[in-house]
C-alpha cells in the first residue's frame, strides 16, 4: 500500500510536469537558446563572406610579415602585404569600404617591442580569429627578438619538450577550457538544484493552500507524500538534464560549433586554427559526477524546501522563509573562483566538504583541477548523512506543517514539531 502510494505520487508529479508547456519550452528551448547564443554571432559575422577577403598587413618593420603570413593563412585568414607610404592608411580605408579587403593591420617598431598592433576592420572578428591574429603577431615579434639575441628559434621550438609534473595540484586559470567547464557546471548545478527544489516547495505550498492535502493525507503517510513529491520532481529534473546532455553532446560531436566558430564550411578541416572543443568537453566520468552532485544536492535542498513549503501558508511567507536556504546555495557560488583556481587551499577543501556546499564546490574543484579520490568519496558520504538528517527533521516539520493553518511557526515551535511529531 505504501509503496504503491509513493509510486502514485511520483507518477502524478512526473507526468503532470513533463506534460506541461513549461517543461517542453525549457527542455527544448534551453539548448536552442544556448545554441543561438553560441552560433548566431558566428553566423552573422561570416554571413557576407567578408572573412574570405584578404586582410592587408602594413609591415613598418619589414621583418614581421614573412613570419606571420603562413600562420594566419592556416588560421583561415588570407593576407596581403602592403608597403608603408604616407597615404597608406587612407588608401586602405577606401579599399576596405569598397569591399576589396577585409581590413588592415598596422605593425611598427612598437609591435616588435611589445607585441601591440592595431587592427582596422569593418566588422568585429570573432574570438577565434582575434586570438589567432594576436598570437601570430606576438609569436612573430618574439622570433625576431630572439634571433637578434642569437637564439635559434626553429631548433628550440622543434626540440623543446617539457613534461609537466605538478608539485601542488594546480587549478585552472581563467580562459582555459576546463575553467569554463568547471565554472559553467557549478553555475548550472546551482540553477538546476534551486529551480527544482523551489518547484518542490511550490507544489507543497499549493497542495497545502488548496487543502487537497487533507484528502491525500487521509489516505497516506505525510512522509510518503513528501518522498513521492521529491522523487517525482527529481525525475523530471533528470529527464531534462539528460535531454540537454544528449543534444549538447550531439551538437558538439557534429562539429557544428567548430564549423561556426572557425567561420563557415570552407574552414572545416583546418584543424590548426580551430580550438579543440571535444577536448574541453567533460568526459563520461565528469558527467557522472555532475549527475551525482545534482542528485545528492537536489535531495538535500528539496527536503529543506519541502519543509519550508509545508510550514508556510502564502507565497510571500514562503519567499521569506526560503531566504536562509538561498544563502546556502549562493555562498558556494561566491567561493567557486578560489575553488577552481586553487583547489588544494585549505578553504577550498573545507568548504567543498561541507555537505550543503559540496554539490557546487566539490564539482568545481574536480572539474577545474584535481581532487584526491578520498575527498570525493567523503563528500558523498557526508552528503548522504546530511540527506538522512534532513529527511528526518524536514519530514517531521512537513508532517505537522502540511496540515497546519494560521501563521508561520517560530523557530521554537518548529523545534517542538520536530520533537513531538
Amino acid at each position: 500500500m505504501s509503496i504503491r502510494n509513493v509510486r502514485a505520487v511520483i507518477r502524478r508529479e512526473y507526468l503532470q510536469r513533463v506534460r506541461s508547456r513549461w517543461f517542453l519550452i525549457s527542455t527544448v528551448g534551453g539548448p536552442l537558446f544556448l545554441f543561438a547564443a553560441f552560433a548566431l554571432p558566428a553566423l552573422l559575422a561570416s554571413s557576407d563572406g567578408e572573412d574570405r577577403l584578404p586582410l592587408a598587413v602594413v609591415d613598418g618593420t619589414g621583418v614581421l610579415y614573412e613570419r606571420l603570413a603562413d600562420d594566419l593563412d592556416a588560421a583561415g585568414i588570407p593576407t596581403e602585404e602592403v608597403r608603408w607610404t604616407s597615404t597608406v592608411v587612407d588608401t586602405l580605408r577606401r579599399r576596405a569600404r569598397q569591399g576589396a579587403i577585409r581590413g588592415f593591420v598596422m605593425l611598427d617598431q612598437l609591435t616588435l617591442e611589445s607585441g601591440d598592433a592595431v587592427l582596422f576592420v569593418n566588422l568585429r572578428p570573432n574570438l577565434v580569429e582575434r586570438a589567432a591574429l594576436q598570437s601570430a603577431v606576438v609569436r612573430a615579434a618574439l622570433e625576431v627578438q630572439l634571433e637578434l639575441q642569437g637564439v635559434d628559434v626553429e631548433a628550440m621550438l622543434a626540440g623543446g619538450g617539457l613534461d609537466i609534473e605538478l608539485l601542488t595540484s594546480g587549478g585552472a586559470q581563467e580562459g582555459e577550457p576546463r575553467f569554463i567547464v568547471a565554472y559553467a557546471g557549478a553555475f548550472m548545478l546551482y540553477m538546476v538544484i534551486l529551480l527544482h527544489a523551489v518547484a518542490v516547495m511550490r507544489a507543497t505550498l499549493e497542495e497545502k493552500t488548496s487543502r487537497i492535502v487533507e484528502v491525500i493525507i487521509s489516505a497516506m503517510e505525510p512522509w510518503h507524500l513528501m518522498l513521492g513529491k521529491v522523487l517525482g520532481v527529481g525525475a523530471v529534473a533528470l529527464t531534462q538534464l539528460s535531454v540537454w546532455g544528449l543534444t549538447g553532446g550531439l551538437i558538439v560531436k557534429s562539429g557544428l560549433p567548430e564549423m561556426l566558430l572557425s567561420g563557415g564550411p570552407a574552414a572545416l578541416g583546418t584543424a590548426a586554427a580551430r580550438p579543440d572543443l571535444m577536448a574541453a568537453m567533460p568526459g563520461p566520468g565528469l558527467l557522472a559526477l555532475f549527475m551525482g552532485y545534482f542528485v545528492f544536492g537536489f535531495f538535500m535542498y528539496s527536503g529543506l524546501y519541502a519543509a519550508v513549503g509545508a510550514m508556510c501558508s502564502t507565497d510571500e511567507e514562503a519567499q521569506q522563509a526560503q531566504l536562509p536556504l538561498v544563502f546556502f546555495l549562493i555562498a558556494p557560488i561566491a567561493l567557486v573562483l578560489p575553488a577552481i583556481e586553487s583547489p588544494s587551499a585549505g578553504l577550498s577543501v573545507a568548504s567543498s566538504l561541507f555537505p550543503l556546499f559540496s554539490p557546487i564546490l566539490m564539482w568545481a574543484r574536480i572539474a577545474g583541477g584535481f581532487v584526491p579520490v578520498w575527498q570525493v568519496v567523503l563528500s558523498f558520504v557526508l552528503m548522504a548523512a546530511a540527506i538522512i538528517a534532513i529527511a528526518w527533521v524536514a519530514g517531521r516539520i512537513y508532517k505537522v506543517g502540511i496540515l497546519m493553518t494560521g501563521k508561520r511557526p517560530t523557530v521554537r515551535e518548529l523545534w517542538r514539531w520536530v520533537r513531538e511529531a
Binding site: 488548496s210 492535502v213 484528502v215 487521509s218
Partner: protein
C-alpha cells in the same frame, strides 16, 4: 430510541472531545454517535465547530481531550481509507486532467488504476461530465470542479462519507442531483455524515441531526422524534387587520413560509396568549394552526438568540 448499540453499529463516535486554538474553544466536550447506515446531519452556524469536529474525525487535528473512534476503533490510516472525505475548502490539482485526477485519488486509496478508470468513467457519465474527462481541472467551472471533487470522494467506494458543506457553491439543479446521489448511496448501505448550514437540505436528507452552536452540542436527536417533540412551538396564521401584535414578547421570530406566516414561539405553551393578543389587537384571524416545525425553526429556537440565524 434504544441505547444498546453495539460498536459495529456506530460508524463514528466522539466521547468528550474538546479542542481549542490559542484560548478559543472550537469544540467543547462533544459527544456524538453516527449510527451505521444513517444520514447524519451536523448542523450549526458558521464558526460553530463543525469543520473542526470533522477534521478531528479525519485525524487532521488531534483532540485536546476526549476520544474519537471510527468503526469501533482508533481512526488510523486503515480505517480512514474506508472514509470518503469532502473538505469544505475545495482542493483539486488544477493542472491535472479530470480523469487522471480521479484515477489518482482512487489509486492512493488502494483502487487499481484500471478499476479507477472504469469507475471514474461511470461517475463522470452520471454527473454529465464525460465530455470534460480529458480537460484540465482548471478549465472547468467551479460547480463542475466540485462535482469532480465529489466523485473523488466516492470513487474508492467508502463505507462512510463525510461531506463538509457539500451543497454550497452548487446551483439548485446540481444540488438536487447531489442530494439524489447521497440518498442512493445511503440506500446502498453507506453511512453519511453531512455538515451543512442549509436547513432545508438537512431536513430532506437527514435521519438524525446534531446542532452545534458556539462549540457546544445543543441538540442531538432523531429528526422525526425531534419534530414531534417540537410540534407545538410553531403556529401558521392567516389574518387581516393590524399586525403590531406580531411584536409580542412570546414570539421569537415570524416569517413567511410558502405564503403562510409562521410564528415561532419562545415557549410552546403560549400559543393561547398569542391568539388572545391578536384578537385584542383587532386582527381578524382566518387561520391559526399549530404546525410541524421546520428544521430551520427548531434550529433558530435552540441556537441562542445572540447568534445570527442561518438563512
Amino acid at each position: 430510541m434504544i441505547a444498546t448499540e453495539t460498536q459495529a453499529d456506530v460508524a463514528v463516535r466522539l466521547e468528550g472531545v474538546t479542542k481549542s486554538f490559542g484560548g478559543h474553544n472550537a469544540v467543547s466536550d462533544l459527544h456524538l454517535e453516527v449510527p451505521r447506515g444513517s444520514i447524519y446531519g451536523l448542523l450549526g452556524p458558521n464558526g460553530s465547530g463543525k469543520t473542526t469536529t470533522i477534521r478531528m474525525i479525519m485525524g487532521i487535528l488531534h483532540p485536546d481531550e476526549g476520544r474519537v473512534s471510527l468503526f469501533g476503533g482508533l481512526p488510523d490510516r486503515e480505517r480512514r481509507a474506508l472514509v470518503g472525505y469532502l473538505p469544505e475548502e475545495r482542493g483539486v490539482y488544477r493542472k491535472m486532467r479530470v480523469l487522471d485526477l480521479l484515477i489518482f485519488l482512487a489509486e492512493i486509496r488502494g483502487v487499481p488504476r484500471g478499476v479507477g478508470r472504469e469507475r471514474a468513467g461511470v461517475w463522470l457519465e452520471r454527473l454529465e461530465l464525460s465530455a470534460w474527462a480529458d480537460r484540465r481541472v482548471e478549465d472547468l467551472s467551479k460547480g463542475m470542479q466540485q462535482k469532480v471533487q465529489f466523485i473523488g470522494t466516492v470513487i474508492h467506494e467508502p463505507d462512510l462519507l463525510i461531506l463538509d458543506e457539500p451543497f454550497s457553491g452548487l446551483d439548485p439543479i446540481n444540488q438536487d442531483v447531489l442530494e439524489r446521489i447521497v440518498r442512493e448511496l445511503q440506500e446502498g448501505g453507506i453511512t453519511i455524515l453531512l455538515s451543512t448550514h442549509l436547513m432545508d437540505q438537512a431536513e430532506r436528507l437527514c435521519e438524525r441531526v446534531c446542532f452545534i452552536s458556539k462549540s457546544r452540542k445543543v441538540l442531538d436527536d432523531d429528526l422525526r422524534a425531534l419534530k414531534a417533540r417540537e410540534r407545538r412551538g410553531v403556529v401558521a396564521v392567516d389574518f387581516t387587520g393590524p399586525d403590531a401584535w406580531l411584536d409580542a414578547p412570546e414570539i421569537e421570530v415570524s416569517e413567511w413560509v410558502e405564503g403562510t406566516l409562521h410564528l415561532l414561539l419562545r415557549d410552546p405553551e403560549t400559543h393561547q396568549v398569542v391568539l388572545r393578543r391578536a384578537v385584542q389587537a383587532g386582527a381578524e384571524i382566518l387561520r391559526f394552526d399549530l404546525v410541524e416545525p421546520r428544521l430551520h425553526e427548531i434550529f433558530v429556537r435552540h441556537v441562542s438568540g445572540d447568534q445570527e440565524a442561518p438563512r
